[in-house]
Symmetry: C2
């Protein structure tokens, strides 16, 4: 990722943060183009992401900044950051360390597919590494 | 898209709708893998999407179901529907009629790129068709 922007906050103000100060962020894998996950950022998370060149999200469950990979080692190296037409959604292009974006040990989080004929969500992606092996028992 | 699931609502219950009854939906283009847009669905929108085989979102600004392409003709034909690990985000694979997903007349909505050295969002995608030509004056 490029050098961090300076003190100007205009680029951060350009994001239409929601009432909770958050914006959804899509992480897409460089090369494969696969959509890995959707997470959330606040202003501080986006600023830190740009400074580090690595994805830093806002964990809504933990109520704190979450440097993706801090526990798992599965860091996302950010190559590109896009903002959509409404300014309320971000798209990151990332290189995924370990080839695993999902906490279930799968390559990406969208591993359930709607099987229409069965009215159900079917798991269609393998676990590449057991979560216990990623995060410890 | 496949035939519509029957009356069972289990597959709809499996989605972790937020406090407003919505879930974010990523539309990704079949073939190119390009992320076209992020929109929202409620239960009725997802059900209708599956019935039609075309993307139907919930328009938060208009407070009603929005059959994508109803004004523009830029319908999204749905080939695949995925649910993520937390059950709170959907991913559609779509064929985009007209090659234009964005209301600005661009191929996709993520046409602003963070230019780090300039601390600003730079428009990096062309308008393919003027909005006036899409929606009328």
């Amino acid at each position: 990722m490029c050098a961090a922007p300076g003190d100007s906050a205009e680029w951060l103000d350009a994001v239409a943060w929601n009432s909770e100060g958050l914006a959804p962020v899509i992480a897409q894998e460089a090369g494969s183009g696969q959509v890995l996950m959707l997470a959330w950022m606040n202003r501080a998370a986006l600023q830190r992401t740009v400074e580090l060149g690595e994805a830093v999200y806002w964990s809504r469950s933990r109520g704190r900044l979450w440097h993706k990979g801090e526990s798992s080692g599965h860091v996302q190296h950010v190559e590109d950051i896009r903002l959509d037409c409404d300014g309320d959604t971000l798209l990151l292009t990332v290189r995924q360390d370990g080839g695993i974006a999902c906490h279930t040990g799968r390559h990406h989080c969208f591993f359930r597919r709607l099987a229409g004929e069965r009215d159900s969500w079917e798991t269609v992606e393998p676990v590449l590494k057991a979560p216990e092996a990623i995060y410890g028992e």
